[in-house]
Amino acid sequence: MTAAEPASLEVRLRQTHPIPLDATFTCRAGQLLALVGPSGSGKTTILRAIAGLVEVADGRIACNGQAWLDRAAGVHLAPQARRVGLVFQDYALFPHMTAAENVATPLRHLPPDERTRRARELLDLVNLKGLEERRPEALSGGQRQRVALARALAREPAVLLLDEPFSAVDQMTRERLKRELVALRARLRIPIVLVTHDLNEAVALADRMVVLYRGETLQEGPPEDIRQRPLSPIVARLVGQTNVFHGTVVRSSAPGRHGLIAWRGHQVEVVSTGDFAESSNVSWLVPSDHIVLHRRDRPSLGERENPVSGTIVEMAGMGEQTSMLVAVAGQTSEHDRSTLNFRVPTHTARRNQLAPGVVVTLSLLAAGIHLMPPEAAAGGP
């Protein structure tokens, strides 16, 4: 982000107690930023801190240049003074009010008839026309989520905060709600912060992603960048990369020349070794979509690229895709994993008669291989 574009929401939080936090990120108007991390990583705490519902020892939260929290300057605005729209994980609808009354609650500054009109408009916006007089108990999970969203928007928020908004609904409703959010997003010119533990959700919805681990922001950037180029093995695992291994740089890459790393007796060709010098230890990953299965009957194109052979140890059908785990042949190392995880179309698995125990040859595509600093001996998720 360049300095010329002022961020709409700036967040910097630091504390050691009761939950350690060391988080910094920004989110511009119109952007959807996803906070992802395992449970206990502090993502919900950060969201609540933005809304003013939890105290944080040190930090600054500013929206459009106005400080909502500035510990150094002694500023700490109450939630009522912050103009945030917050969709709670369980929606937190007022059970004694109808859908329309729930949505009208943040509109108490308006005259009654205008309040009602606006509440109806908002319910219409989230496709709940006709359900205005229903109480939350008479609404489905997806409908409740929409009422919660309409109530959050009724505040005319400067920032929209979504805490795991899709976790309490079934799969079909979830997909529909996601599509609606994408459509709604285009109409809202405000920063949107989404908390989720579901990486696919972040990749599908967010422009930017902040990876949190134990309260710390480990990496910020476009979801696909982080997925392909994580800064560390921890981030790699947090964003769902399972094929993370140790290796040693044998030859640095140079313009027009691929680098080489040694791994379990193989020489793995990589497009770039980055800043890593020859003979330095590295962690490296190959995304599962950069692993190519060779046909067993005849060699196929690309088989010369980092061929490794191994034995299928596990297969799990997941509908159209079959996930498999292949134990790679070669030298063993006590610190290193030796299995590659990837997916093939189920019909491919069937045609090639793949089954546990079958020996297969794979190519690890050099373009996808990414090098990271070696993992510390302790820690990691």
């Binding site: 003013g52 939630p79 009522q80 369980d90 937190a92 004694h96 609650t105 943040p106 108490r108 108990e137």
Partner: protein
């Protein structure tokens, strides 16, 4: 039927319920949501009137409110009326005796309100007071009804502590429950029977109301 005793009983029950209502709401809410040191001790102290013999409570009230006490003598100097053997005295005694019934149901009712509903109200721009009026009270309503009905019924049924603090003065401190005792002592069984029936009906109605409101809340929770 002793109408003056009936009137005193109703007056005492009404005032006790009314005066304990804000106490129950504020204390119940604080106990439900505000963590503080010594909370368990406070909760135990609140429950004390339930297990203490009424005579023991009455004795301490006599000592604490009597003409020799700081409170009693001060009040007598200020108003010309003491607390012992007066309606005001039995009202104070009745309020203290009913504290568990006023606070407990309210505390349970406030505890049943999810914390994030209040947060949702704040984030919606409602002040703490607006949140209390628009969100907390409507949701704590069954507890409020239940506490009031219990206090009312329990006050009608008070005996020992009233006798200790108020004595048995017709038209001043003689409640229906004491009048029943009085008539039985005087072998006027038919008068006692009528009053006993009235007390029975009132008590049943009060408990019925309590069950009705808490029963509705249970159904609501399931929905």
């Amino acid at each position: 039927m002793d109408w003056s005793a009936f009137q005193i009983s109703l007056k005492l029950a009404a005032w006790t319920s009314l005066l304990l209502l804000p106490v129950g709401i504020l204390a119940g809410r604080a106990l439900a949501w505000t963590p503080f040191r010594g909370r368990t001790a406070v909760e135990a102290a609140i429950m004390l009137p339930l297990v203490l013999p009424p005579t023991v409570l009455g004795y301490y009230l006599l000592v604490g409110l009597g003409p020799q006490s700081l409170v009693g003598s001060g009040l007598e100097r200020a108003t010309g009326r003491g607390l012992v053997f007066t309606f005001e005295g039995i009202l104070v005694a009745s309020m203290i005796f009913n504290i568990p019934f006023a606070i407990q149901p309210m505390q349970r009712a406030f505890e049943a309100i999810p914390a994030n509903l209040r947060e949702a109200a704040w984030v919606s721009g409602l002040s703490s007071f607006e949140t209390f009026v628009r969100v907390e009270l409507p949701l704590a309503w069954p507890g409020l009804v239940s506490a009031t009905a219990l206090v009312f019924a329990h006050t009608l049924g008070e005996f020992g502590v009233i006798l200790m603090v108020g004595g048995n003065i017709p038209g001043e401190t003689q409640t229906l429950a004491i009048a029943v005792y009085d008539r039985v002592q005087a072998f006027e069984n038919s008068a006692a029977a009528a009053m006993a029936a009235v007390l029975l009906a009132f008590s049943f109605f009060a408990i019925f109301v309590v069950h009705l409101t808490t029963g509705r809340r249970r159904r609501h929770d399931r929905g």
